[in-house]
């Protein structure tokens, strides 16, 4: 049974009282979701810490991440160099801290590009239906037929190595999930009363899709984007590890593991710490995504209220 939701304009009068109600419902649902999924708190903590680290990187880092100091090369972790130094004497801790900016930027950019392509393709396929849908979904199938990293690798190689081309390459293989999901959502929403109402008062197709249907796809998209963010970071690290993706001297985590691998046996700290941060980031996004899924799950609405 779907709840009838009046168009926003109709309920304009009680806006603030409704917002208050929404707020208390949200905190109630937050409480339930935390109880159901206590690891969500850990995920939230990890991702908030990561964001703070990215924002305050210059303040947190103890050294300049690019500063070469051959006199202090390959030093073990100490009070001066928390995570030791690499072969050119750069401070690994400072590089890892600055690396959080790169990983977050890549995750946000890729999901923005892939999400936009996916939303356009999915919304068009879902709303227009017929031949357009058939063509768009077959294109999606073809892209899905490739193993993700392998196609990203080919595109990245064609565009030339570099973080920007890696981002573009990953986006170009990543949009299919969003396209499928949004198409499904649009198909479901298409016959809802509020869409019919919007059409009845003469709204254009564009307006119906963008203002009425797409906002209803936001929760599943947020969940998917959060879960994906970790895997995007992982994929970028993988591309950087094999020599595409980030190039020297960028403090990208995957690239740091890759350049430190020859020194693994005697200078274990160099490749180890960046790997720890990749892992924490991926786990953080995974836990947060699971938590958001519980939080935004419509089946939770009204429980315990």
């Amino acid at each position: 049974m779907t709840k009838y939701e009046a168009p926003a304009a109709v309920l304009h009068i009680g806006f603030w009282s409704r917002m208050r109600e929404r707020g208390s419902e949200m905190s109630e649902r937050m409480r339930i979701a935390f109880r159901r999924n206590p690891l969500g708190a850990l995920g939230l903590f990890l991702i908030v810490s990561l964001m703070l680290m990215a924002v305050f990187a210059p303040q947190i880092a103890t050294h300049d991440p690019y500063e070469i100091n051959v006199a202090e090369r390959l030093q073990a972790p100490s009070a001066k160099h928390l995570f030791g130094t690499d072969a050119t004497g750069r401070d690994v801790f400072s590089r890892v801290v600055h690396g959080s900016r790169i990983s977050l930027r890549v995750a946000v950019m890729v999901i923005a590009i892939a999400g936009t392509i996916g939303a356009v393709v999915g919304a068009a396929a879902g709303y227009l239906g017929g031949l357009a849908s058939e063509i768009l979904m077959r294109i999606t199938d073809v892209v899905l037929a490739f193993p993700t990293l392998v196609l990203a690798l080919a595109v990245n190689a064609a565009l030339g190595p570099g973080l920007e081309s890696a981002m573009l390459a990953i986006s170009l293989v990543w949009w299919t999930g969003y396209a499928r999901m949004i198409r499904g959502q649009v198909l479901a929403a298409k016959n809802e009363l509020y869409v019919e109402a919007a059409r009845a008062i003469g709204a254009s197709t564009w307006r119906v899709v963008v203002r009425h249907i797409l906002p209803n796809c936001i929760s599943p998209t947020i969940v998917q984007a959060t879960l994906d963010a970790g895997y995007v970071v992982l994929t970028t690290a993988g591309l950087s590890f094999i020599g595409l993706g980030a190039q020297p001297p960028t403090p990208e985590w995957g690239f740091m593991v890759s350049s430190g691998r020859k020194f693994m046996l005697d200078q274990w700290w160099w490749p180890t710490f960046p790997g720890v941060f990749i892992t924490l980031t991926v786990i953080g996004f995974n836990m947060l995504g699971d938590f958001l899924r519980d939080l935004l799950d419509p089946r939770l609405r009204g429980i315990g209220a």
């Binding site: 037929a145 993700t148 990293l149 690798l153 190689a157 094999i242 691998r261 693994m264």
Partner: protein
Amino acid sequence: MQRYIFRRLVFMVFVMIGISLVLFTVNYLLPGDPAQVAAGWQAGPEQVEAIRKRMGLDKPAHIQYLTYMRNLLRGDLGTSILSRRPVLSDIKSYLPASLELVFAAMLLNVLVGFTLGVFSALRPGRLVDTISRFFSTLGMGMPLFWVGLLGQLLLSYKLDLLPFGGRLTPGVTPPDTITGFYTIDALLARDLPLFKDALVHMLMPAAVLALPEAAVTSRLMRSSMLDVLLQDYVRTARAKGLRERRIVWVHALKNALLVPLTMVGMQVGWMLSGSLLVESVFSWAGLGFFAYHGIYMRDFPVIMGFTFVMTIIFVFSNLLVDILYRYIDPRITF
């Protein structure tokens, strides 16, 4: 059933055309002038023009695509810029090593993933379950190449338990090629020490490659088993007094397997992607290792050939799983 397989195969033709179009586009966008590359850097403009004509690179894009298609159908994946050998013959010689690794990893994935999943579903919230869920969270988050490096540091360097990499101890002659899988070929040659050597070398790379997949499998298996154990037919089986062991491992397992099984096809794809990273860490002389060097040397025919072959394997393994799925679950109709 035959009609279903036939329909899927017809659909495959379209997918293949799509794949070739995507790869052709990527190839077309490649930096540099392929005619110049083929002619060598000392070649003068007239020579380059002559080669461009001979390679058909002066023709419009759609004609070039048809040529590309014809070459693909003939099994011509181009010539490696570096080794000057046909890419296909290189791929043929490297492919068995990769397949052996992926098979071994798949075996580990299924064994570990299914077992962990079932045991944690039997005692949800207890120690086994907690450990298994911790393992699965970690396994999905750790980068493969990093786990491989840590494994080398701990298991090979510090503890001296497993070899660093390679498929055999240096100096050991590989078995005569029958299947191309060293373990199986060694067994066929009845050479036990050689078999042991190949197996020991395979252990760590296969385990690393299997790690993220086993994490996913155990999670899926757990939730699927929990669902099945609550169903009426399980209660009926209990009511008629069957032993719990039989209920779990025979009655429930059969149905619980269906969900994780759908993932196996996808997992082949992830493993093929992962093998690229794992093989480069462990110097495993397979396709991933071959492509890794191709990437470093900017040897584009090698990269494109690798992508093409990996995609074909992925597409077919998905098809196989879909067909298998219909055999196992007769309720499914497409």
